[in-house]
Subunit: 375 residues, 2 copies
């Protein structure tokens, strides 16, 4: 089997991650809840992983809050911001339903405005002059941008956008589910929150994700329950991370992040993915009937490439690759509804998405290309 | 090390669970999102585990919704019920902060009444006549009861309470975090929702829990995001489970439940825990300076026993057991604030809690007793 669905979850994980998971499962105690050594050690491990999450992106000071998934992290952030009726929330056209669906709920409940940031069709750059005018007319309360598009692999120009929105004291949220740990995030001073997904770019297991809080603004709480501390208080504490995490922490999944972060520190994942991405695009371009969804400058693309083939719906291509060649790609809309209008892929029922990981090889790409040539 | 903190998380898990976890980690694909075989197989596995969760308690028809923790399940239920200002929510004095803290938030936001169900001091039975009067005066909108108290091990008389509240069409929620899979839940016809915790009585891994929806009432949605289906729709679907789960399912943790449920089907966990509980109580009773927190009839207690020792705070006992005897118990308030007033354990800083699991032995209990005798 050739696996090209690393955008859904990276596979395989490094061997050290599997070993860490097995060890952790066989020694999984509940952190912060017992008055015995192994429970206290679990608590220490969790704090260590919080620090590693920061240092992998050269973050000196922040709060790291764990959730079970990036979706939960985005829900906690979107429902945690102090939104009032009529607020303007800006998003890019590349956003995922984990951003759009919570916002649609807020729109229904609080009549907010969801405004799509204008992107240029050829360069896939933000139309910054137009956006500046939009911000001036409709002040941004929050701006939510993907770091890397899960459909097109575009590394978004979040710095340019946040540099403007920060002037309006907007809450700037970067959804780095597809990039954290692989592509360094710059201009941290303009960002309020970064979302990460343990089982994607961080090469850890399912069940762990979270957000990094870089600034002083305070979120409303959205999850309530036992924290192993201050039990007699019927309210959640007003401090980070305790007041924003409830229930037993997933110590096993957190242990997997310890191993994967150590692996990421010494592994050239970015370089390898970059090289594979270029190779994949070059090879796909050599097939005439393939429509690639790319900006002018392919340096902006990392790890994910979407395309379609004349005469086929995207899912037909996926089925043939699976059935006849044992090649796994994802097809369809990839939980990101807005981008298909921008790239004009709706008639194909979405795109065929090849998403690369550290363990993919050029040989596997060659096999994919040979398979596609038979269509 | 002797582990008596199975109420926090059962440890160890059956060997088959560790093996299932390792296999699942090494073959973890994202379910419902890929158009290839292994992704479809993940989806099938999840449905199979949903069915097993039902059949382990002889449930014929229900919806099983997965969450990452029982805390999340309770948050989704409590914030999902259609609560209006002035509604009366009844809870037992045995409830956990995963019930109390979400309700306190609702109280602040919607001015609900949180009403404590009266329990009798000697028998620990519900004072049903008094409760009937309370229901008549203040109609119950919802009733939330623990199946087994995480502090005292009491199997609560939920059937008697729900039989009354159902007459008022109350939403009846049973928090079976400490019992599901071990103690059969009866009178399902009166229950709307049952909460389960994968890593506790179900002997699975961290990161998986959920609720079973037994009746027709519809919850408001509380989590929004990608579901791998109907991407172009900005709203969550109006069906179960799709509309109530968002983000990548934790296929690894779900795989552990498949193994643990198969193990539970053929293992006499209840019988063993019952026998150990009786043995533990009998031995603890033989030590004069120990105050046990028990009802008249100890047949009502399963798996968890709380006590204190004259002249010691509960956490002092825990530290000595850990430091000098390598015995792990939990001490303090156990995230359940109300019960300590009922059993009068506040002056001790909570209780020393011994919580038993299938892998505990009488020999370990003897070692605990010998350690306690030195105090």
């Amino acid at each position: 089997m050739i696996y090209f669905d690393n955008g859904a979850t990276t596979y395989p994980k490094p061997e050290c991650v599997y070993q860490a998971l097995d060890r952790a499962n066989r020694n999984a105690f509940n952190s912060g809840r017992g008055s015995y050594k192994v429970a206290r050690e679990s608590t220490k491990l969790i704090d260590e992983v919080r620090r590693k999450i920061m240092t992998i992106n050269d973050i000196d000071y922040a709060n790291v809050i764990f959730t079970n998934s990036a979706t939960s992290a985005l829900n906690n952030l979107i429902f945690g911001i102090d939104i009032i009726e009529g607020d303007n929330i800006y998003i890019s056209p590349f956003e995922h339903n984990s951003v759009i669906r919570p916002l649609e709920e807020l729109k229904e409940k609080k009549n907010i405005n969801i405004i799509i940031i204008p992107f240029l069709k050829d360069t896939w750059n933000v139309d910054i002059e137009k956006l500046k005018n939009m911000f001036a007319l409709k002040k941004p309360k929050a701006v939510i941008i993907s770091h890397i598009s899960n459909v097109t692999g575009l590394i978004l120009p979040y710095e340019i956008i946040f540099e403007e929105s920060v002037k309006y004291k907007a809450i700037n949220i970067l959804d780095s589910s597809q990039g954290y740990g692989i592509v360094k995030i710059k201009d941290l001073k303009d960002i309020n929150y970064i979302v990460f997904a343990g089982h994607k770019s961080l090469y850890g297991s399912f069940g762990i994700a979270g957000y990094i809080k870089l600034k002083q603004d305070i979120l409303n709480k959205t999850i309530f329950g036992g924290t192993g501390s201050d039990t007699m208080n019927p309210k959640m504490l007003d401090k980070y991370p305790d007041g924003y995490e409830a229930g037993s922490p997933n110590i096993v999944a957190i242990s997997s992040l310890k191993a994967s972060l150590e692996w990421l520190e010494i592994t050239r994942v970015y370089t390898h993915e970059k090289e594979l991405t270029k190779y994949l695009i070059e090879k796909l371009k050599s097939i005439d009937k393939i429509h690639l969804y790319l900006p002018n400058d392919i340096e902006k693309i990392l790890g994910i490439v979407s395309f379609n083939i004349d005469g086929y719906k995207s899912d037909e291509v996926g089925s043939i690759l699976d059935d006849e060649f044992d090649i796994c790609v994802r097809t369809g809309f990839h939980c990101s509804p807005l981008i298909h209008d921008f790239i004009s892929s709706i008639d194909y029922g979405g795109t065929v998405r090849v998403s690369l990981g550290y363990f993919n090889t050029k040989k596997e790409i060659d096999d994919l290309i040979n398979a596609l040539k038979t269509l």
